[in-house]
Symmetry: C2
Subunit: 198 residues, 2 copies
């Protein structure tokens, strides 16, 4: 093994070891059985699996493999920037959050060898921009998964943040409808039942 | 939305909700910071990310997107069958473990619409058989990740199960060398240091 390939593998292991810390970032949503808060590592797995299963419902045809790769890396910046729950007050300053996430992306993707750092960063930038069909679908799936968790736990984070049906439509429904309209149609029925019974 | 597409989406959500339980299956390895045991949901994310980063080190060229999909679903059977640590005594009866996992695969993939159930099952069967280049690499990556966690935590599960350097070579080194020889070469240096210092 040359020194060069040895240094390359060492950089890749350093990145993957740093990524481990995402398992200690907690989100506002609990597991479906309500037993504890979800962490961002397992969330990233779950939304990648969601994308694999639900790709046929994308608004426009997507490359599911690219979407899955986006899902695997989409929240790595939370290692430095933390999770910002969409229903919390902190979510009201998107400019500050975006700046923190850019700095985090520089550091974390920068642990990789330069070619991979550039590839991963480009994919993450595409996800964040939410302009391509793949990214629009990825963003919608990222919003669908916590809706299901909330329905399973009896509305845990909606109750905690006092979320109205209109707020949910605005903060979640818009993104989901844009990328996966059939899924929002299916979810709306369950949401209307939950909010009407409240 | 037709009744048929509505039933299809309901089956897909049922599968994805059942998958959530993988976040409550604990493994024998701890997080890299030693704070708690890792669960199989976050492990599945981490090895998918490992595959994405390390694909260039595969013994033979692989389709990284297929390998990632394998990683996303490779441990779903643990929802019913539990995790069997490779260094524990329970790992000595592979026939019993395989039978339990087959039953689990029938039930869990069977929650999906029939076409997807067949696709996912075929991919999982391919992973288990470890005969194709994609599956051989996937199996090797699945073994690499806990080695790194153990090195980071000072050998936590090796100490707990009293694992020798020879046992590690036999149980882990063989599989890793077969699918990703350069990674085992890199790991061996760190392993020798750890075992020699013991």
């Amino acid at each position: 093994m040359t020194d060069q390939s040895s240094a390359r593998i060492a950089a890749q292991f350093a990145f993957l070891t740093e990524a481990d810390r995402l398992k200690s970032v907690l989100r506002a949503t609990k597991l479906c059985d309500g037993s504890r808060f979800e962490n961002t590592g397992e969330h990233s797995w779950h939304v990648a699996l969601y994308a694999l299963v639900m790709a046929e419902h994308a608004a426009k045809p997507v490359d599911v493999s690219r979407v899955i790769k986006m899902m695997l890396i989409h929240d790595l910046v939370e290692i430095d920037a933390g999770d910002t729950p969409i229903h919390s007050a902190a979510a009201l300053d998107p400019a500050l959050q975006a700046a923190e996430e850019q700095t985090a992306a520089d550091r974390i993707f920068g642990l990789l060898p330069a070619d991979q750092a550039a590839d991963f960063r480009a994919l993450w930038d595409e996800f964040e921009a939410a302009e391509t069909d793949d990214a629009i679908f990825a963003k919608s799936i990222d919003r669908v998964q916590p809706v299901i968790s909330n329905l399973e736990t009896g509305g845990q984070s909606w109750l905690e943040y006092n979320v109205s049906r209109d707020q949910l439509e605005h903060r979640v429904g818009g993104k989901v409808s844009r990328g996966a309209p059939a899924l929002w149609t299916a979810l709306k029925q369950r949401l209307d039942l939950w909010f009407n019974a409240r």
